[in-house]
């Protein structure tokens, strides 16, 4: 077994919630799941041995090790402060404007990666999305607005932190646009 279903993740989350453990790390082949009770959780689908996502498998590794408190905003001041982030993007294939397409926030509000607390995130790095896929929620005063990808491609970077305020037009995700990625094969990794 080298994959895990969404239901199984939810089940693990439930067990974890009721347990006394603060942290859980599950590794099954290429699949790695890290859960932290009082912090941020990450679900990382690594590229399989047989199917390469792209020519940059280290990009995903890099993201995995990126500190969670790192902020990246669109405002000029904050952007200059996040030089590390920029270098990281460059390391994985150039300027975000050149290489990847940003998914931007349609409004100022709180950024949520999952439909509800404890649920798995809508999307992860490496995940294929099509235009109609929900990628996150922006909450403004208890009003939850689902954000669609509006693009077909692969998520290469999550640029905002879960539970933090994002500004209008702030980049939330970077997407590698792929014309060939169809509706049906979005869950799979094309070989």
């Amino acid at each position: 077994m080298d994959t895990i279903s969404q239901d199984e993740v939810v089940q693990i989350l439930r067990i974890m919630e009721e347990s006394n453990f603060d942290e859980l790390c599950l590794e099954m082949g290429d699949f790695k799941l890290i859960l932290k009770k009082h912090g941020d959780s990450e679900l990382i689908q690594r590229p399989s041995q047989t199917g390469e996502i792209s020519g940059h498998p280290e990009a995903v590794q890099e993201r995995q090790s990126a500190p969670m408190d790192e902020k990246q905003t669109e405002s000029g001041k904050a952007a200059s402060a996040s030089g590390k982030d920029k270098r990281e993007i460059e390391a994985i294939g150039g300027d975000p404007e050149e290489g990847y397409i940003p998914i931007r926030s349609p409004m100022l509000g709180t950024f949520y990666r999952a439909p509800k607390p404890g649920a798995p995130p809508f999307v992860e790095v490496g995940r294929w999305v099509s235009a109609d896929d929900s990628v996150c929620i922006i909450e403004v005063m208890k009003l939850f607005n689902t954000v669609k990808a509006n693009i077909r491609g692969r998520i290469v970077k999550v640029c905002a932190e879960n539970g933090q305020m994002v500004e209008y037009q702030q980049t939330l995700f970077l997407v590698e646009e792929v014309d060939g990625a169809g509706e049906t094969d979005k869950e799979e990794i094309p070989s």
């Binding site: 669109e74 405002s75 001041k77 904050a78 100022l108 709180t110 403004v140 305020m165 209008y168």
Partner: protein
């Protein structure tokens, strides 16, 4: 400052710059909300942080209560300063602040509501023993309006109960015009304020606009900082303000300032506010007009003659402190004048003139103050009001303030767009203005025509 450490400035332009300066002086951290167009604006650069709240259209950015509250909470701000315009006098924002444990730097929501309803404000003023302009209660149809008009005497003004600031008013000269104007006025009131309630007021033809700055703390201390004369208006929009008023004697000053404080006291008013009066020059009588429950555009003229920083005082009382001065300590010294420099073409019917400012050189020197957000290369957006700068001069007396203003206007260089600077130069040299012989209709009835005849040359 006790209770406030980080302020969200929910405004733009010169007033955002002004508020940020007060924050800096008080040692408060600042966050400014910006629309997409204002991301590189001067306030965005001066604030500790700028957050983008939406597209350029005010309806989708500066007027969104929920977004502004979310921005305040998301940046860990503990107070919101609304400036003027936008949401400054909207009880919704003040209420939302209270709900979310934020300090609203302004009056209580309830006072915003009371004074926002012009009929209610008239009643309150009357209750405080202040004369109100002869007029009616609410009129429900043209018949009632006609009856009220006969009672108070033509000409009359039809006013929107939810109006204010010169908006939602129509003059009716004769009885036969009333029906048509009534429909127009209530229709406009409905579309502008979402409220078609109308009342009738006698129209004072030879009036001056005199307003009194007041400020109160939560311990019941309410003081006035003297009057401002804002008679120079065009289409009910102020162009030049000065303090003290050349038309107000020391006795009248005592009376009118006392009336303003009584109105404030009547409702236990907190924070900065302005009580506006019409001074009937033919009968030497003043009447309550309305109350503005915010910091006003022209507040600098009061600061220049009283030496009191009104915005800092706003923060102080909002944080729950006492006013820093008592009435006895407030002194009026010198004379101050403010010219509003707008992006408008005075030679083309004052049509708005947005665009790129290619060169911006503002005057400097002793007694000259410029409140502005503009600079060389700044783009004046068509989305917002046309105010570019407030040019304020202060002299030991009126003549000196005028001389300084003439000098300052002449050395103010703005290229790339048209401004009202040449029109102000025309005003500052006019005998009527020099003699203090003006009314609220002087600009429209006399000056605009003379200016056009002179081909826009202030020195001919």
């Amino acid at each position: 400052m006790k209770g406030i450490s980080r302020v969200l400035v929910a405004n733009r332009g010169e007033i955002a710059v002004r508020i940020l300066r007060a924050c800096r002086e008080l040692g408060l951290e600042s966050v400014v909300t910006v629309s997409e167009t204002d991301k590189d604006s001067l306030p965005a650069r001066l604030a500790d942080r700028a957050v983008c709240i939406g597209p350029p259209s005010p309806m989708e950015s500066y007027l969104k209560v929920d977004t502004i509250i979310a921005a305040a909470l998301g940046t860990d701000s503990d107070a919101i300063h609304p400036g003027y315009g936008f949401l400054a006098e909207q009880p919704r924002l003040a209420e939302a602040c209270a709900t979310h444990g934020l300090i609203f730097v302004g009056p209580k929501a309830d006072d915003l509501r009371k004074m926002g309803d012009k009929l209610c404000a008239r009643k309150l003023a009357g209750g405080a023993g202040v004369s109100i302009i002869p007029g009616s209660e609410l009129v429900r149809h043209p018949g009632e309006a006609a009856e009220a008009a006969r009672r108070v005497g033509f000409p009359v003004l039809l006013k929107a109960a939810a109006g204010g600031g010169g908006k939602g008013m129509k003059i009716v000269a004769r009885a036969e015009d009333l029906r048509g104007v009534y429909d127009e006025a209530s229709g406009e009131a409905l579309s502008a304020f979402g409220d078609d309630r109308i009342y009738v007021e006698h129209y004072i033809s030879n009036a001056r606009h005199i307003e009194v700055q007041i400020i109160g703390d939560r311990f019941g201390n309410i003081i006035h900082l003297f009057e401002r004369d804002c008679s120079l208006q065009r289409r009910y929009q102020k162009m030049v303000e000065e303090a003290p008023s050349p038309a107000v004697s020391p006795e009248l000053r005592r009376e009118i300032c006392d009336a303003a404080v009584r109105i404030g006291r009547q409702i236990g008013y907190e924070n900065a506010g302005t009580v506006e009066f019409m001074l009937d020059q033919d009968h030497g009588q003043f009447y309550f007009l309305e109350m503005n429950t915010r910091i006003q555009v022209e507040h600098p003229v009061t600061e220049m003659i009283s030496g009191i920083d009104l915005v800092k005082e706003q923060f102080r009382v909002a944080a729950g402190d006492f006013l820093s001065v008592s009435q006895e300590e407030v002194r009026l010294t010198g004379h101050a004048i403010e010219c509003r420099i707008n992006a408008e073409s005075p030679g083309a019917g004052f049509s708005p003139c947005p665009g790129h400012i290619t060169e911006w050189k503002s005057p400097t020197g002793e007694g000259v103050r410029v409140d502005s957000h503009c600079y060389s290369g700044y783009f004046v957006s068509p989305y917002y009001d046309s105010l570019l700068a407030k040019l304020i001069t202060r002299g030991t007396d009126r003549r000196e303030a005028i001389d300084l203003m003439q000098y300052a206007l002449a050395s103010f260089v703005v290229s790339g767009i048209d401004t009202t600077i040449p029109f102000h130069q025309f005003i500052m040299r006019h005998t009527d203005y020099l003699n203090g012989n003006v009314s609220t209709h002087w600009i429209e009835n006399r000056l605009v025509k003379e200016y056009e005849k002179n081909g826009g040359n202030p020195f001919r």
